[in-house]
C-alpha cells in the first residue's frame, strides 16, 4: 500500500497545483489590462463575431491552417486525439459511466493513435527542420517526449499487456471520496500515472499556458470597434484625469 499512498498524494498534489496554478495565471491575465485596441484585422466587429473567431481558432486552429499545413496537421491530430482520450478516461472517474462516455469509448482508442501520430510528427519536425531545431529548447523536446511516453504506455496497456482497469477505477473513485484503495503494480501503469501527474504539475509553469492564453490574446479576442466605443484601461484613464 505504500505505492498507493505515494500515488494518492501525488495526484492530490498535482490536482491542487494544476487547478491552483491555472487559477493564479488566469486571474493574473484577467487583471492585466489591454490598454489599446489591437485586434489583428480584418477582425469581427461584434462580440458574437469574436466568439466565433475564437471558436474557429480553438477547434480548427484556423490561423495555423493558413500558416503551415504540416504543423497544423500534426498539431490538430494530437489535440483532437487528446480530447477524445480525455473523454474516454472519464469512465475512470464516474459511476455509473455517462452514456456519451460509453458511446465514445472506441473513438477514445482511435484518439490514442492520433495522439501518437501527431506527437511523432511534431517531434520529427522539431528535430529535422532547421528553423524549428534552432528555436527549440530542451524543454520543448522533453515536453513532446513526456506526452509520447504517456500515450505509448497507455496504448501498451490497451493492446500489449492489459492492466486491471477495474482496480484502477476503484483507486481513482476512491481518491474522489478520500478513500485509499490498492493500485495495480504493472510498471507501464505506474509510469503512465506518474508522468500524467508530472504533466499536471508543470502545466501552469510552462508553455502549456497556451491553452488559457489564447482566450486572453488581445489580437484575437478584441472586437474591431474602436471608433464606435471608447476603450480605456484604468491606468490610462488616470492619465486623462491628470490632464
Amino acid at each position: 500500500m505504500t505505492a498507493a499512498w505515494a500515488y494518492a498524494l501525488a495526484f492530490y498534489a498535482a490536482a491542487a497545483i494544476l487547478v491552483g496554478g491555472l487559477a493564479w495565471r488566469i486571474a493574473d491575465y484577467w487583471r492585466t489590462p489591454a490598454p489599446l485596441k489591437i485586434p489583428t484585422t480584418p477582425a469581427p466587429t461584434t462580440r458574437g463575431g469574436v466568439a466565433l473567431r475564437l471558436a474557429r481558432e480553438v477547434l480548427l486552429f484556423e490561423s495555423l491552417f493558413r500558416s503551415n499545413l504540416w504543423i497544423w496537421l500534426f498539431g490538430w491530430l494530437f489535440h483532437v486525439g487528446l480530447a477524445l482520450v480525455l473523454a474516454r478516461h472519464l469512465r475512470y472517474f464516474t459511476e455509473p459511466v455517462w452514456g456519451w462516455v460509453v458511446f465514445i469509448q472506441p473513438f477514445g482508442i482511435l484518439g490514442g493513435f492520433l495522439m501518437a501520430a501527431g506527437l511523432a510528427g511534431l517531434l520529427a519536425r522539431r528535430l529535422a527542420v532547421e528553423r524549428i531545431r534552432y528555436i527549440s529548447t530542451p524543454s520543448d523536446i522533453l515536453m513532446l517526449v513526456l506526452l509520447l511516453v504517456i500515450t505509448i504506455s497507455g496504448l501498451v496497456m490497451k493492446y500489449v499487456s492489459p492492466t486491471d482497469v477495474v482496480a484502477v477505477k476503484v483507486f481513482f473513485l476512491g481518491l474522489l471520496r478520500f478513500e485509499l484503495h490498492p493500485l495495480p503494480a504493472e510498471l507501464h501503469l505506474r509510469v503512465h500515472l506518474a508522468l500524467v501527474a508530472a504533466l499536471m504539475i508543470v502545466f501552469p509553469f510552462s508553455k502549456l499556458l497556451h491553452a488559457p492564453g489564447i482566450f486572453f490574446s488581445p489580437t484575437r479576442n478584441q472586437a474591431d470597434d474602436p471608433r464606435e466605443r471608447r476603450h480605456l484601461a484604468p491606468w490610462a484613464a488616470r492619465l486623462d484625469r491628470e490632464g
Binding site: 489599446l36 489591437i38 529548447t137
Partner: protein
Amino acid sequence: MSTKVEAPPLRKYPVIPVLDIGAMSASKPYVASDKIQEAIGFPGELAPDWEAKAIAKMAELLGRYRSLKVYLDACVHCGACSDKCHYFIGTGDPKNMPVARQDLMRAVYRRHFTLAGRIAPKLVGARDFTPELLQDWYSYYHQCSECRRCSVFCPYGIDTAEITMAAREIMDAIGLGQKYSNEIIGKVHRIGNNLGLPGPALEDTLLGLEEDVKEDTGVDVRYPLDAKGAEVLLVTPSADFFAEPHVESLIGYGKVFHAAGVSWTLSSHASEAGNFGMFIGNYEQLRKIALRVREAALELGVKRIVVGECGHAWRVAYSFWNTLVGIGAGGDDPFAVELQNQLDHRYRQPTHICEFTWDLIERGALRLDPSANDHRIVTFHDSCNVARASRMGDFPGGQFEIPRAIIRAVANRFVEMAPETIREKTFCCGGGGGLLTDELLELRVKGALPRMEALQEIAERDGVNFMATICAICKAQFSKVLPYYGFKMSMVGGVHQLVSTAIRLGSND
C-alpha cells in the same frame, strides 16, 4: 555602412532561406544622444545598474500590457511564424524569425519572472540579461518593422510587434534609445511635425501648391492652413508637404475637397499624422503626440477629422485616437465629451481620406476620367498597418476593398500581385516601424525582397508600371529601394495621386 549595399537576387521560386547565423548582428541604428533622450524624458545614457532597471521596467510593462504577459507565456515554439517575416526571408538571419526575435525577451522573462527559469534556466532557454544580450536586443528589435504579419499566422495571435515595442520601451527606460525615432518625437513636440517644418514654411509650400495646381488645371484649388471654422481638419503625414511622390497625393486630397465643395484646413499645430510614439511603444508619447490633434480640432472648431495617406498614422488614428484622446464615439468621461460634442457624428470619426473619397465616388459626386491614367498599369501595395491593424468602411476588410475600389474608379488598368502577398498577408515595404533611416539601408533593401519579387512577377507578366500605396513610409522606402532591384523610383505613388490625375474640376476642361 562602409560596404556597398546590394539587393539579394530575386528568387524564381521563393523557398525558405537556410539559416545564416549572425548575418545581421552588426545591423544597428544610431544610438540617441543624451540630448535627444532627455528632451523626451528618457535617461541620457546607459547607467551602470541598467540591468536592474530593465527588469524593473519589464515588471511594470507586464502589469500594464496583457498582450506582453500572455504572449511571453503562450508561445509553444511551433515555428509556424518562423518563415513569415520579410526580414528573415531577406536576410536568412535566424534571429529575424519572429519567434526567435520574441525569444530574446522571453529568455530574460523566463529567468526573472518564471519558476522554471529560476530553477532550471538552461532547460527552458532562460538567460540572464547580459551586455551581449542587450546588444542583440538593440540589433534585432530594430530589425522588426512592427508589421504584424507574424501575428496573422500564429495560432495564438502572438504579435511580435507588441514584444518589439516593449523591448524598445525598456531600452529607452535604461538610456539606450534609437536616434532616428526619438529625434523625430522631439521635433513633433517642439515644432509640430516629424520633419521640423515650421508654420511659415508650411504656408509657403501650400501657396506654391495652389499656384502649381492653378497652372495645371486652371482652377483655384485651395490648400488652407489654420482656417478656423472649416468643416474638415485634414491631418496628414508631413512628408506630404514636400517629398515626392507624397505631395502628389496632397494635391489630390485638395482637389477632392474642392470638387466636393467641403471646406477644409490643415493645422500648423498638428501638421503631422505620423505618431512615432507607437514605434517606441511608449503610451505617454503616443498620447502626447495625439493630443496635438485634439487641441487643433478644438481650436479650429472643425466638425470632422480626416486622415491622409499614412499607414501607421491610420492605425493610431483609427485604433488608438478614441482611446488616447477621445476622437471617436462612445466616451462618457468629461475628457472625451467636449470634443465629441463638437464633432459631427453622422460621419465616422476619424475618417480615412480613402473613405471620404470613396463615399463621394459612390454618390457620384466626383467627375472622373479614368483614361487619364491609361499610361499606367497599376497595382496596389497593402500597407501593413492599414491591412492588419485598422479598418475602413463598415465591414471587416473594407481597408482592402475601398482603396482598390477607388483605383478601379480612377484607372482602367489594375492588376493584383500574388494572393499570398496582398491583403492581410501583405509584406511590409521593409522600412516601417521606425527603421526608415539611412544607416539601416542594408536591412531595408533586404527586407523589401518579398515585395519586390511579387512586383517583378506582374511587371514581367502584365507590364505593371505603377505601385499605388497609402503610406508615407512605404512611399519613401520604395522610392529608395526600388532602384536596387532595377525598377524606377517613380514607380511608387499614392492612391490620391491617381485620383488627382483622373479628377475633373470646374467646367473648363
